[in-house]
């Protein structure tokens, strides 16, 4: 199997998971699609080296996160290979409190959101997050603390009734 076949196999096996990560990281399907495709293009360019020496998923996630934090907002100028349909609404959140939390996440600075997503969605440890973002463990803790504090003040977490708040 040559490098391109291995790369295609990787995209088929891990692409959707990366896209889901991009979605919770950025909050919308277009940025998620752009981040994922851009990360995969960059991965392809270093594929022979990365597949030998690193975990390609971790590498892709690092590219996506750093892109998102450093220089990202949907850039309509360049349409990559695929653009997902518009999603003005998100119907997968089962309760009002989760919808509130999702919208509150949109108000966080990117680095804070990225730290929270890596910790609570990807289940990475603080040292792993620190390595991925290229920051110290103390800074990770600081971003997590600030992000959680902002979320706490933005959403109402009174006990739910019948699984939801009225």
């Amino acid at each position: 199997m040559n490098d391109d076949h291995l790369f295609a196999k990787f995209v088929a096996e891990s692409g959707d998971a990366l896209l889901r990560y991009g979605f919770v990281l950025s909050g919308n399907p277009h940025d998620a699609a752009d981040l994922t495709q851009e990360a995969l293009i960059r991965l392809h360019r270093v594929w022979p080296r990365v597949q030998r020496t690193r975990d390609p998923v971790s590498y892709s996630r690092m590219i996506m996160t750093r892109l998102h934090i450093s220089a990202w907002r949907r850039r309509r100028r360049e349409h990559l290979a695929w653009d997902p349909p518009e999603r003005g609404v998100l119907d997968t959140l089962p309760s009002d409190s989760e919808r509130e939390l999702w919208h509150a996440l949109a108000g966080l600075p990117r680095k804070q959101r990225a730290v929270l997503v890596l910790r609570f969605y990807e289940d990475l440890t603080d040292p792993e997050i620190a390595q991925l973002l290229g920051i110290s463990r103390g800074t990770v803790r600081s971003h997590a603390s600030l992000g959680l504090s902002r979320l706490r003040s933005a959403v109402d977490l009174r006990p739910a009734t019948n699984g939801d708040r009225s």
Partner: protein
């Protein structure tokens, strides 16, 4: 409290991730092509640097037109070409999938073009709901998701939320025969429920003016009984509701641009108070694509208005139709010290400018051409 928040956050992110689209089949091959093309392009850019400094003087439309007014001139210009035909978007979406029943074509009110909704089955036997849409500028979007029958009726998505009208769509079980949008003030706007032949579920659609506040979508059965009300949670992106920073820039033809910094530095364009466009203007991203390549202009349009940002040397932008007719917009500085100039003009084309194609040409103060950007005529993305 903290535990509750962290538990809630974990659940929210997990549930939200289910709303992500699925990557289409065959994407890897396209990414590999794009990767190789970018590598080639990087080499070409280096080779072309010496040429880029040479500007070609063209006496297309003499003099500046401070009002950004409409003009007509016959230009000795190369007519925009028709864009090379791309692979049929529906065929691309259906790679490795089997159609399940008929397709439903509905009007995307934001683009004025058709949008496709249909069902398919993948190799594992899962039933998927797919959509494909096309923009006037020739971009296509498509994707499939596995519907959750338990939570039907569902609101699957909407078209562009800043267009004058927005199409909402979703899925229902077959006992639902009608959908009504309940809007603030008590009004009701009827939608449609359609069940294309051979499909497992019905598809509902509702077209609502953007300025209408939606309370809920109400679903009824054949006896007129309400079976479900789904609250509407769609919200505009942060930048459209953020407080502007600094003064507003008033441009010709009643356009107003403001700068917001939430979540990024973004110019928001309004006409009659309504958002009609946006441009990302953070210094790092300014007129730069994802590959890091710079481009000279970013233009958007709404009706006859065309507007945008261009590199700071540009004093005038012309939009040239295939018949040589030119519409001119003088550029002006922005009040926020961003390294671009703003422009707005109106054209008098009767056909869609993207359907017939056009060219944008930028000039400096002396009337020397600085750049040309061709927009080939756009063809439909599927049969």
């Amino acid at each position: 409290m903290s535990d509750e928040l962290e538990t809630g956050l974990r659940a929210t992110l997990g549930h939200a991730a289910q709303g992500a689209p699925m990557l289409p089949s065959g994407l890897a091959a396209q990414l590999i092509t794009r990767s190789r093309r970018r590598r080639t392009h990087a080499r070409a850019v280096v080779a072309g640097l010496a040429l880029a400094a040479v500007a070609v003087p063209v006496g297309l439309v003499a003099g500046d037109r401070p009002g950004g007014d409409v003009s007509t001139a016959t230009a000795a210009t190369t007519p925009p070409e028709t864009a090379p035909r791309r692979q049929d978007l529906y065929e691309l979406a259906m790679k490795d999938l089997t159609p399940l029943g008929d397709r439903l074509a509905v009007q995307d009110p934001g683009e004025g073009l058709a949008m496709l909704l249909w069902f398919a089955r993948n190799e594992k036997g899962d039933t998927l709901f797919c959509t494909a849409s096309q923009s006037r500028s020739g971009a296509g979007a498509y994707g499939c998701n596995e519907p959750d029958e338990e939570s039907m009726p569902t609101v699957v998505g909407s078209t562009n939320l800043i267009a004058e009208k927005v199409l909402y769509y979703g899925l229902t079980k077959s006992e639902v025969t009608a959908v009504t949008t309940l809007v603030a003030g008590g009004d009701k706007i009827p939608g449609k429920v359609e069940h294309p032949a051979g499909t497992p579920w019905a598809i509902w659609t509702a077209t609502i003016p953007r300025t209408t506040r939606i309370d809920a979508f109400e679903f009824t059965d054949a006896q007129g009984q309400v079976t479900e009300r789904k609250k509407e949670y769609g919200r505009l992106s942060e930048e459209f509701t953020a407080e502007p920073v600094g003064p507003a820039a008033t441009l010709p033809h009643d356009l107003v641009a403001t700068l917001v910094k939430t979540p990024d530095e973004t110019l928001i364009w309004r006409l009659d108070g309504n958002v009609i466009g946006q441009h990302l203007v953070r210094a790092k991203d300014l007129l730069t694509n994802m590959g890091g390549d710079r481009y000279p202009v970013s233009m958007q349009d709404r009706g006859a208005h065309w507007f945008g940002i261009t590199e700071s040397r540009t004093a005038r932008v012309d939009m040239i139709a295939p018949d040589g007719t030119a519409s001119t917009a003088a550029t002006r500085p922005n009040p926020w010290n961003i390294d671009v100039r703003l422009f707005s003009g109106v054209h008098q084309r009767t056909k869609d400018i993207y359907a017939e194609g056009f060219e944008l040409v930028g000039y400096d103060e002396a009337g020397t051409v600085l750049w040309r950007e061709s927009q080939p005529a756009v063809t439909p993305l599927w049969r």
